[in-house]
């Protein structure tokens, strides 16, 4: 099976501080993969490395590679990566608050030049999110969090990606809205778009993805099919809040990991 994205032994550091160590992740073509991790695990660094904006924070790839279609992506400019079909839903939505919803969506197609195709994609996005057409001419900054996240996903889809990277889709949203968004991700995934969901909310991420990785202090500590991980005691203790003795279990695992 060919892979949409293959991260191989990636290490990243911000100056002397290492952020990722020997991380290997593979997203199969049309697959739905999630990366779990708590705060400071290196999730955001991972996304920055994939989308090529590491330089903004003066980060450096020290070893390893990110390959896509046999091409190393670590040296590419962000706009080349986007043109190559990787779109990102950034953490915290990052909409353009003073542009209307439609302008925000059209900004997502900044890497494309075919106006007719962009209009078609816009109609598709409006069909996918029936809540958005009535809000079309509203300023994005005035929308609710859930609507903003929909615009952010729609904006990423405007680039017609073959790989969608979602950074913390559930951040600051009500559980019901998060569920709806993940159902939509499922639908997008069924259309053949590979999804890489970077999530703190392990429960929902494991429900929807087929394969998952757990990132802890810059290293992959666990990986496996989502169904198996869901049953895994460690994962339950770490990310889902396990049974009564979860606190001790958590401490034990943290000790294990940090050793």
């Amino acid at each position: 099976m060919s892979s949409s994205l293959k991260i191989d032994g990636l290490s990243v550091s911000y100056g002397p501080i290492p952020a990722l160590r020997n991380v290997s992740i593979e997203v199969p073509e049309g697959g739905f993969v999630s990366v779990l991790g708590s705060n400071g695990a290196g999730k955001t660094t991972l996304v920055r490395t994939i989308t090529g904006v590491l330089y903004l924070q003066k980060g450096k790839v020290t070893s390893g590679s990110i390959t896509r279609d046999g091409q190393d992506m670590t040296k590419l400019k962000t706009r080349k990566i986007v043109t190559g079909g990787v779109a990102q839903v950034p953490e915290g939505r990052m909409l353009f608050p003073q542009l209307t919803v439609e302008e925000n969506l059209r900004c997502g197609a900044a890497s494309r030049r075919d106006l007719a195709g962009i209009n078609d994609t816009l109609s598709e996005v409006f069909d996918l999110f029936p809540q958005l057409p009535p809000l079309q001419n509203q300023l994005a900054g005035l929308l609710s969090g859930g609507e903003q996240q929909m615009v952010a996903v729609g904006r990423a889809l405007m680039a017609k990606p073959s790989l969608l990277v979602c950074d913390e889709l559930s951040l600051g949203l009500a559980p019901l809205i998060v569920r709806d968004l993940f159902l939509l991700l499922d639908r997008i995934n069924k259309e053949g778009v590979a999804v890489l969901a970077i999530e703190q909310n392990a429960r929902i991420a494991l429900q929807h993805s087929t394969y998952a990785y757990a990132l802890e202090v810059g290293e992959i500590v666990l990986e496996g099919p989502s169904d198996e991980l869901r049953e895994n005691q460690e994962v339950q203790d770490l990310y889902m809040g396990g049974g009564g003795d979860s606190r001790e279990a958590y401490a034990a695992i943290r000790r294990e990991v940090n050793r």
Binding site: V53, T83, P90, F96, Q98, C107, S111, E124, Q136, G192
Partner: protein
């Protein structure tokens, strides 16, 4: 992502409006544009009794025709990319077109308004408004749309003037050649002086561009002293090229048609400003323009979407300074004389006041702001001299300039507190309200 769902287009998004032929939609605009010829033929003085009424009826007729023949579908995503697609926008555009065409004819009548209202000197004000609207629109493209706070725009007025002087006076080429050369020089230097914007932002960029202003000021002083001496530049009167003499209303005296009166300058200024402002409007609606706004709102997010942020900034600098240079060249030819200290740093503040008061978003802001900026002092002057009680107060006439500035400053504060989106925002809100009121009874009948 291929087509996500196979559901048919919702009924709300099908085109509902009736199709009208293009010529019918263009007709009000054509009538408005043709009106000066007719006005010229009948030597129209609107203040001769019934003529004012006829003029008003024509105005309303043109607006109504444009309104009723506009195609409008609020939910078609493609329509929002079009300029003036809504009925009210089309009607207003046609009316504005007609009014602009009528202004010079109305202003050149020898009508004597009551209380010695300075009728003729308004022509100069109108010309300044038009010229500054172009510069302010270009300034807004950079500051309002791209969010790059630049103080170098007085410098680009100097560059435009220097190009105009070099090409028009020293190389003795036509005025019409000066404009594209000024645009080109402005664009190239704009890119060059925009390079600091790649690393600096906000107040730091502002300080860097103040530096640019003083560098160019030095060049300007050297240039003017070496080429023209201490008396400064005196610009020649441009003339219309002979291949344009077919235009109705133009009767060349002894073979050349000089742009030597306010009336003639009005058409030149209006034409070039309209082209310039329409250019800005179109840039802003385009992919490039959305990239500008994206860079302004969140440049990291813009990077993530594949927007080339440095390029967007430089393109914005280039377009803005090209248009400001053109307006500088035109201002100098219109003003006829320029000396060493014609362009001071405060000119940028003037542009700043214009776009802040007018409103940052949209080109309307530049136009409303220019009207505010130039019409108010004129109006105050008249009040000081003619209004019964005010003209008696000696204090007002003794500190005329200071009081003008103070009132202008207070009004800026009032506008900003009351309406942070400026006069353009006020206008939009008024328009929205009027439209709602117009549609309210109809909605009750239909549904």
């Amino acid at each position: 992502m291929t087509s996500v769902t196979e559901t048919a287009t919702p009924a709300s998004r099908q085109i509902l409006a009736k199709r009208t032929p293009t010529w019918m939609r263009a007709l009000p605009f054509l009538v408005a544009i043709a009106s000066p010829v007719i006005l010229d033929k009948i030597s129209w003085n609107p203040f001769g009794g019934w003529k004012l009424l006829v003029g008003f009826l024509v105005l309303v007729g043109i607006g109504w025709f444009a309104w009723s023949n506009a195609e409008h579908d609020p939910d078609d995503p493609r329509l929002s990319l079009k300029l003036w697609h809504r009925a009210d926008q089309r009607a207003l555009a046609a009316v504005t077109c007609f009014v602009l065409m009528a202004i010079p004819f109305i202003l050149s009548t020898d009508w004597e308004p009551p209380m010695d209202f300075p009728w003729n000197s308004w022509f100069r004000i109108v010309n300044y408004i038009i010229l500054f609207a172009l510069g302010a629109g270009a300034f807004n493209l950079l500051v309002g749309y791209t969010g790059q706070l630049s103080m170098a725009h007085a410098a680009f007025l100097m560059i435009g003037t220097m190009v105009g002087a070099q090409v028009g006076l020293i190389w003795e080429q036509s005025f019409w050649l000066c404009l594209p050369v000024a645009a080109l020089a402005g664009a190239v230097l704009g890119v060059f002086f925009g390079i600091p914007a790649l690393r600096l932002r906000g107040l730091y960029l502002m300080l860097a561009t103040i530096g640019v202003h003083f560098i160019i000021l030095l060049v300007w002083k050297e240039y003017i002293v070496h080429q023209f001496g201490f008396s400064g530049m005196r610009f020649t009167t441009p003339n219309l090229p002979s291949w344009l003499h077919w235009i109705p209303g133009i009767n060349p005296e002894d073979g050349e048609f000089l742009i030597n009166s306010q009336f003639r300058w009005f058409w030149v200024n209006l034409g070039i400003t309209t082209v310039g402002l329409l250019f800005i409007v179109n840039v802003v609606r385009s992919r490039e323009g959305r990239a500008f706004a994206a860079v302004r709102d969140r440049d990291i997010s813009a990077t993530l979407l594949g927007i080339n942020v440095p390029r967007s900034k430089l393109v914005s600098f280039a377009l803005s300074s090209a248009l400001v240079s053109v307006s500088g060249c035109m201002l100098s030819y219109y003003n006829r004389a320029r000396s060493e200290d014609s362009f001071h740093l405060e000119l940028v503040l003037d542009y700043g006041i214009i776009i802040v008061v007018g409103g940052f978003m949209g080109i309307q802001g530049a136009i409303f702001g220019s009207i505010f900026f130039f019409a108010l002092p004129m109006y105050f002057e008249w009040m000081r001299e003619e209004l019964p009680i005010i003209s008696d107060i000696d204090f007002f006439s003794r500190y005329a300039g200071e009081i003008d500035l103070a009132i202008r400053g207070i009004l800026v504060v009032v506008v900003l507190v009351w309406r942070p989106d400026g006069l353009a925002g006020l206008w939009q809100a008024m328009k929205k309200r009027a439209l709602l009121r117009m549609q309210a009874p109809r909605r009750g009948v239909v549904q």
